[in-house]
């Protein structure tokens, strides 16, 4: 028996792939797919780096969330948009009522089986690039309802790929802001031009394999 490492390092896409896919033929196909994404990224990096930086900068600083609240956490989400915390300071305050114009889906609250198809559809309706924030314990893993909640989806990552997880029940508004910063940081390291179409692909590959 050995002591656990304090925090496991984030797994690479390849690792996740290997864990997720059992069929060897499928796996080879996906891995070659991944290689192509990577090589395209490498090949064009010198040329497009400044442009990519600009695009990333714009995306990170203009994350329009979808007006989409499910339960308790939605109230804290509203509080973040309100005067005291003022999400608008970071350019993310323009809550869009329609998924077509949104970039960020803050899934705030318990996702039930009845709601799950709608969440999936909303996610699909958001044009690329799209980001998903799982806010609150219920969204991340079923939360308090994980044991006896027969009607609760035990983790939103079973139905849509998640970019950032914000635990809490509900998380403080500051925690949500922190998560936003972390998301912005992650967007900053994206390769939007090299892998234009690849985000969805990679999500399909590495994230939760959606049924």
């Amino acid at each position: 028996m050995s002591a656990n490492p304090p925090a496991s390092p984030p797994r690479t896409a390849e690792q996740m792939l290997r864990e997720a896919i059992t069929d060897p033929r499928e796996l080879t196909r996906y891995l070659s797919y991944l290689d192509r994404i990577k090589s395209e990224g490498m090949g064009t990096s010198v040329m497009v780096a400044p442009l990519e930086a600009a695009i990333n900068w714009a995306r990170a600083n203009s994350l329009w969330p979808l007006t989409f609240g499910l339960a308790c956490c939605a109230i804290e989400m509203m509080a973040v948009g309100a005067s005291r915390f003022d999400l608008d300071r970071f350019g993310a305050g323009a809550f869009r009522p329609t998924p077509r114009q949104a970039d960020l889906m803050i899934v705030a609250g318990t996702v039930t089986h009845k709601m799950a198809p709608r969440v999936m559809r909303l996610y699909e309706q958001i044009p690329e690039p799209k980001f998903v924030m799982a806010m609150g314990a219920c969204t991340i893993g079923g939360g308090p309802y994980v044991k006896h909640g027969y009607h609760v989806v035990k983790g939103i990552d079973r139905i849509v790929p998640v970019d950032i997880y914000v635990p809490g029940c509900p998380p403080r508004p500051e925690a949500l802001l922190d998560a936003l910063f972390k998301l912005q940081a992650r967007i900053g390291s994206d390769r939007p031009l090299a892998a234009r179409w690849s985000k969805r692909a990679e999500n399909e590959l590495t994230g939760s394999a959606r049924p």
């Binding site: 600009a54 695009i55 900068w57 714009a58 995306r59 600083n61 203009s62 007006t67 309100a82 005067s83 005291r84 003022d86 608008d88 300071r89 970071f90 350019g91 305050g93 323009a94 869009r96 009522p97 329609t98 077509r100 114009q101 970039d103 309706q125 044009p127 690329e128 690039p129 939007p192």
Partner: protein
């Protein structure tokens, strides 16, 4: 054909920079001119939209005791730029059930509809793309094109919310157009002209038995009918630009996002820019019609000269243009004529005068712009039948009364 500013520009100025312009096919010349004008207008529209989305968010922030965007760039001024770039690179989605052609066309028509009034909208006495006689009539007419675009946007994507948005706008438009037109008629009656330049000129003429009336020369101070008409015109303008409390076509809490529910990315940005551009058109038009246009509320030195800036420029450019040979030389000549223009005392005088006018107009326009934002963040939304009630049962009788008053005033006071 009379020689217009366009002809002068084409024949002399362009010719001065590039003598070949004189011999190029006419259609090419017109196309270049067209593109140039369009680029200017679109540039100005984009600038307005960018600046005022930022402005609106900051003002809303102030009203709501918060800060508004202040992180992206110094004090957040790069926020609209980030939004713009993001929208530009966002995936373009066309719903499967949409009528592709009309779906694609709708934002462009809305955009063009918002763009057209700029053709005749003056910035100052001389600074106007086309000073046609029917300026006011033109602006009012081409506001309608935007409505057709919105109707297309409402129908094409096959979404029910969009459809409701489009139909609401149609109903709304049929009600606000009439009182707005009548309010404009008040000014037409008072001034006896539909030319925007003349309307402004009328507002600097002697009034109230004063020689230099300044602020009292403005239409709203010349006649109580005009004051009332101004208020109604402005409120009607709110409806025309789909701003709160008349934002029914895109009522967020009722119709999701109304007619642009299904639009994303750049197409949505077109609607967005069109909204801010038509806000500018309404505010500038209200300023020109009722608030003295480019005339300042305070007295200013009489700097106006008869010669137009274009004349001087083309004269200078022609003088310098002959000297240049080769590309470098031509650019040199262009620069030279520019410098000469900027140092010419006559031209300087005109420039100063025009700049003063532009600043005046923009200040007043932006004040109205601010009021639009202020109203938006204060009032709840009306219901569609209340909009119709307001326009047809309140504004219509009052605007008719204003017209009658204006007629009486013109007949009695001459």
């Amino acid at each position: 054909m009379e020689s217009t500013a366009a002809d002068i520009f084409l024949q002399r100025v362009l010719g001065a920079i590039w003598p070949g312009a004189q011999t190029m096919p006419a259609w090419l010349g017109y196309s270049v001119l067209l593109l140039l004008g369009a680029a200017l207008i679109i540039g100005w529209m984009s600038l307005l939209a960018l600046a005022w989305t930022y402005g609106e968010r900051r003002i809303a922030g102030l009203i709501q005791v918060r800060l508004g965007p202040n992180r992206v760039g110094p004090q957040g001024i790069l926020q609209p730029l980030a939004d713009g770039i993001k929208l530009l690179v966002k995936e373009d989605v066309v719903p499967a059930v949409a009528y592709r052609f009309i779906y694609t066309l709708a934002p462009l028509i809305v955009f063009v509809g918002a763009l057209l009034p700029f053709i005749v909208l003056p910035f100052s006495e001389r600074l106007v793309i086309s000073n046609i006689e029917l300026g006011l009539y033109f602006v009012l007419a081409f506001e309608a094109i935007e409505v057709i675009g919105v109707l297309m946007a409402g129908w094409a994507p096959g979404s029910k919310w969009s459809l409701y948005g489009g139909m609401r706008l149609a109903a709304q438009m049929l009600s606000y157009e009439i009182p707005m037109g009548l309010c404009a008629l008040v000014i037409i009656i008072l001034t006896g002209s539909v030319n925007l330049g003349e309307i402004v000129a009328w507002q600097s003429r002697d009034a109230w038995f004063m020689e230099h009336p300044w602020i009292f020369g403005w239409a709203i101070f010349r006649s109580p009918a005009a004051l009332l008409a101004f208020v109604m015109f402005y409120v009607g303008g709110l409806a025309a630009t789909k701003r709160a409390p008349f934002d029914l076509p895109e009522a967020e809490s009722e119709l999701v996002a109304g007619y642009h529910t299904e639009y994303s990315g750049m197409r949505f940005a077109f609607f967005f820019m069109a909204e801010y551009a038509s806000m500018y058109v309404i505010c500038a038009l209200a300023t020109i019609l009722f608030l003295g246009g480019w005339h300042a509320p305070i007295p200013r030195p009489e700097l106006a000269a008869d010669a137009s800036l274009m004349e001087i420029w083309s004269r200078l450019a022609a003088a310098h243009g002959a000297a240049g040979t080769g590309v470098a030389g031509k650019f040199g000549a262009f620069g030279g004529s520019l410098i000469a223009l900027l140092t010419d005392p006559g031209a300087l005088k005109i420039l100063l005068h025009q700049t003063f006018g532009v600043v005046n107009l923009l200040l007043k326009t932006f004040l109205l712009y601010f009021v639009m934002i202020w109203v938006r963040w204060t009032l709840p939304r009306l219901r569609i039948d209340q909009v119709m009630y307001l326009c047809l049962k309140v504004f219509l009788p009052f605007s008719v009364a204003c017209v009658v008053w204006a007629l009486i005033q013109v007949v009695m006071l001459g």
